[in-house]
Each structure stands twice: as C-alpha cells, then as structure tokens.
Symmetry: C2
Subunit: 349 residues, 2 copies
C-alpha cells in the first residue's frame, strides 16, 4: 500500500506539504502542488480513509438503519437517500435490523465511530432503546417513528392525513360501507393510518380486518370477504401489498373491481399501476422521504446544538380504476401524473 510518506519521499517534501497540497487548503506554491499531484497520480496514491477519519473526526459517511431491504419501498428510500448523499459527497452505509431488536442494537453499535450521522427507521426503536444504544454525540434522524420530536429529529409521513383523505375520497365516490385492512399491531404507520380512517369514516358503516402489511395477509382477508354473506362496498388496505393480495383473491373469486367492490391502498409502490385494474392509493414520495431525512441529518451534523426538528411529509391521493375511475391513457413509471394534494400539514415544530 502506498502512503502519504511514499509520496512525500518521492516528491522530496514533507508529509505535511503533501497533505496540504492534496487537500488544496493552505499555502503551497503552485509549482510544488503540481509536482506533488503528479507524483501522487503516478503512484496511484489514495488517502487511507480510516487514518483520515481518526484525526479529522469526520467519516464522510452516513449510516442508514432500516427494518429490511426487501421490496420497493426500501429500494426507493435508499435511492432517495443516495441521491441526496452523493450531492454532498457522502458515502452511504446501509444495514437492516431484520425485525429483531437485538440485531438493531448490534447494527447501531457497529456503525458508531464509522459514520457522521445515522438515519434510523425501525419499529423496535423507541426512546428507551435509543437512550440505551445510541451515543448522544451521534447525530440521528428518526423516520416513521412514534418517538417524540422533542429530543430527536424526526421525519414522518402524514399517515393520518393520507388515510383520512383517502377515506373521504371513497366516501365522495359514494361508498358508504367500507372495510379497512389493518397493518401490524405494533407498527406506528399502521396505527396512524387506522386512526385517520376512523376519524374520517365516522358517518359510514365500517369494519376492521386484521392484516400485517404482507401480501399474503391481504389475500387471506380477500378470501374472507368473498366468503362473507354481506360484503362491503369498498376496501381500504393500510398498504399496497395487502391491497394487491386482496385484489387477487377477489379476482380469483370472479368478482369485478370496482363494480362489485372498490379497492384502495397506501404507498403507491410501482406495482400499483401495473395491476389490473390499476390501484387507487395514497402516494407518499418515498424517495423524497429519504432525501428529506438525509438533508435533515446533514443539518444536524453541521449544527448539533440546534433544537431538533420534527417534520411531516404530505401525501396525495392517486385515483385509479380500482376505485371507479375509467382507465386512463398509458403512463409509464417515469411519467407520474400529479394528482390533487390533500390538505397540507407541513412543518410542525
């Protein structure tokens, strides 16, 4: 391995001068700078990141702790983070907690000292967990969390508002008897979506069906609905994958969507527009979530003592055929239509 000493020796200067020349900072003659740059290039010198981090206390790396890496949601999220990170010259260290609190703790520990800040999204992470496993000196931004924004920077999707708006959307279309497929019991997003549904559907006939965000659970619920003696007019699933599972169960049974039963989801994952009929859903700009979280984190790294912010990201209703809209013109994944925004909630703290 070629180190800064090799470059210094070869260029006939001290290591300090090499460091200065290569970092472009202090006063170095243009001539020596050129000479050093030449030698460094010839030797293929690459500074040792760990050594540099040790003294500068900066790693130029941010960590992202996610519950899982499976599926389109996290793919989009990581992409959003990556875009914002690369714009700032930051590297991205990813890790998944795999639904296990112990693994989450391990990952968190492993990342400390390797990153300048942390993006955290995990159902097991609550205030106590953080106090236990996260050094107060490490800047962090929590996503989709129930943890109060009082002590930590947070960035949440407006789950409540989105679910509320979608429920109103269904009511507006004349559906008066609406079933809601819930998410996992301990999930914050799921709870908020249910809360939004309940608040908006007070006047309607409703029923709750238990799901867990998985496609299978949606399918099971669909089968239940098919077998039930009295079917609701519309089904609102707490996420798209369950809606899709449900859709397949309904279609298999020969029911027509939306004529026999309308359907709506939440997330607007890419698949949503490809199923038949295309799925009405609540769009959360997942990439924007990642991007926003990273920007918040950078702000926190730059000013660790500023009071943490608690941001909330708006959702919008995307009305497609599954809730009664006629099939529109073809639109590919990259030409997303702008739909109407529901009430804005915006900045809270």
């Amino acid at each position: 391995m070629v180190t800064i000493k090799d470059v210094a020796r070869e260029a006939g200067v001290s290591v300090a001068t090499v460091s200065r020349a290569l970092n472009g900072s202090a006063s170095v003659t243009a001539q020596t700078r050129r000479r050093i740059a030449g030698v460094a290039a010839r030797l293929r010198y690459v500074p040792h990141g760990a050594a540099r981090s040790l003294v500068t206390r900066r790693t130029q790396t941010v960590g992202a702790l996610l519950p899982d890496l499976f599926g389109e949601f996290f793919s989009e999220l990581i992409r959003g983070v990556d875009v914002a990170a690369r714009a700032r010259g930051l590297q991205l260290l990813v890790s998944s907690s795999h639904g296990d609190a112990f693994e989450a703790a391990t990952a968190l520990r492993a990342m400390q000292g390797r990153v300048d800040g942390l993006l955290i999204m995990s159902p097991h992470v609550d205030a106590g967990f953080l106090r236990e496993h996260l050094a107060p000196s490490v800047p962090a931004v929590l996503m989709n969390t129930s943890v109060s924004g009082k002590h930590y920077a947070t960035l949440n999707i407006d789950n409540y508002g989105g679910a509320h708006a979608m429920t109103r959307h269904l009511l507006d279309r004349g559906y008066r008897d609406i079933a809601f497929i819930t998410g996992p019991a301990d999930n914050f997003d799921a709870a908020e979506r249910l809360r939004g549904f309940r608040a908006a559907a007070k006047s309607a006939r409703t029923q709750l069906l238990r799901g867990d965000f998985s496609e299978e659970s949606g399918y099971r619920v669909g089968k239940q609905l098919v077998a039930a003696k009295q079917r609701p007019q519309a089904v609102f699933a707490a996420n798209d994958m369950m809606a899709i599972g449900c859709l397949f169960a309904l279609i298999e049974a020969g029911l027509r969507v939306p004529q026999d039963i309308a359907l709506a989801g939440f997330d607007d994952i890419p698949i949503a527009r490809y199923v038949n009929p295309p799925l009405t859903t609540v769009r959360v700009s997942i990439a924007a979530l990642g991007q926003g979280a990273l920007e918040q984190l950078v702000a926190r790294i730059d000013a660790p003592d500023a009071p943490p912010r608690a941001r909330t990201l708006d959702c919008e209703i995307v009305s497609r055929a599954s809730s009664g809209l006629a099939a529109g013109p073809y639109q590919s994944l990259h030409q997303r239509p702008k739909s109407r925004k529901h009430h804005s909630s915006g900045e809270i703290s």
Copy 2:
C-alpha cells in the same frame, strides 16, 4: 466521546487489558474481564471503528458499486448482498455510478481505504478502467461484466443460456416468427442475450427491434408492432421492463396476449407476475447473484493470492400466461414456484 482510556482508568487497568478483555482473545482473568465489561457497559463505551481499522487493516466493511439504485433489480441485489454480509458481520457501503464513468471513478476512489473489498457492477468498468482506478491490493468481484475472469474474480448471469432456452421454449410452443427487442448497444448482458436468441432462433423467422432496457422503449416497440403490416407471432424482450412496456402498447391497441401475439421477458422482476397476463420470463435469482458475489469476495479477501474465479449463474424459464400457459393458481411473491431449469453451465474456471 468515551474512549478505551476512560474505561481503563475507571477499571483501574491499562488500555491493553481493556482491549484484550473486550476482544475476548488473550489471557485475562475472568474477574477482571467481568469488571471491565461492567465498566464498559456503564460508560456506554463503543470502540472507535476508524482507529481500530487503522491498526488492524480491516474495516469489516465491503463496498458495492452499482450503476444505479433504481428499480427492483438493484433492490433485490442489495438485499442478497446484505443477507450474506450480515451473516459474516460485515457492513455494507453502497454507491451508485449513475451512468457516468467519472462518477464511477470518484466513488471507487472514495471507497478505497474504507472497505476490505469491492463488489463492482457497472457498464463503464472495463479492464482499462480498473487498471487505472482500482488499487491491485483491493480485492474485488466484478458482476455482469465483459472483463475477463483471467485477472479478476467475476460473477455473471448465464445470459446466453437463458436467452437460448427461452427462445427454444417459444419455438417449442409453436411460435415460428419471433421478434427480439434488444437492450442498449454497449451493454454486456444485452449483447449476450441477443447472442443466445440468435443462436437458438436460426431456424425461425426473426426480426430485431431496438430497445434500451427502459419501459418506454418497449412501449415504443409495441406501438411499432401494432402498426406493422405483418406481426410476429411472439415477442421476446431482452428484459422485463421492455416486455411490460410492449405489453401495455399491445393491450391498448386491443390485441390479446398471447392469442394474437405471445410475449416473454428476462429477469423475472417482481412486477412480472402481477401484470395481466402474467409475464413469461427468464428468472435470474438476483438475490442469489448478490449473495454469491459477496461470498466470492469474502473468499478473495481471505485468500488474496488464490487465482480468481469466474463463475456463471444459471437461469430458469418461468412459463406464465403471456406465452400461452393457462392461468395457474394464485401465487404470492414469496411462494415462488420452481420451474424447470435449462441446461446448466455452472463453473467455468
């Protein structure tokens, strides 16, 4: 920040003993070990990764350089890598080259000294690029590359074999007039798939239509086909996204798939099973690709002087309704059916 010195002072021992106790290695009394562990826990001591890396020459981190992070393919790939990495206690540093050779070089440089090894997949990376930007001391595994396995460890999908098998599959089903939608001109996978198609379709009537792996390009080709005076009996797209774009163009024009025209893709991205009709395609286990690559990398890190291996991953044909199969029972994303494997190619070097 609490360092090893703080722990040592608090526990009344030297830093060396703390290090030994915490790393569990050398001879330390059970009693002192306990005392030190207690103090470390109380102080919430977390070793500084950079400092440790500096002296051990290990970062416990591997880097992955991908062309992009968009879409299901990379999501699956990263997941596969992550699973294998976590099994070995390795962290994962991701970066995307965004289709730009300069960015790829920058990312590559930024990663050196931060990782123990590199997973590289990028169309711009050829032998010359590597010689220029990758230190020979950094172990690396190249994925989906045209670079010879002579000097670098490589892991390729059996694009040729998969395309060959799919073409035979279409011929077996009686389609004698087959169009092929190509991928980008400079893409290695695309070229191999075309080669496989050509080799298998010698006896059939064929035509080539230019695409670029994007859904839009598939849609354009579909429109072309609809307008053409003589349509092929089947269309084989070099990837699923183009097949899906094409499918939408055909359906929009009122054509029935597969009755009027059969369709097949390549990759078996999750969406493939959700479109109507479900898409016949060539499955490459993307997660297995990522997993295999990481395992190869680990082997290379452990034995840098062993000759590099050039592995090839088998594909399998997944026959769904778009090529004439009757609609089967419902299957969710997690219950993937095992289909027949095409001829194995296996280990090459």
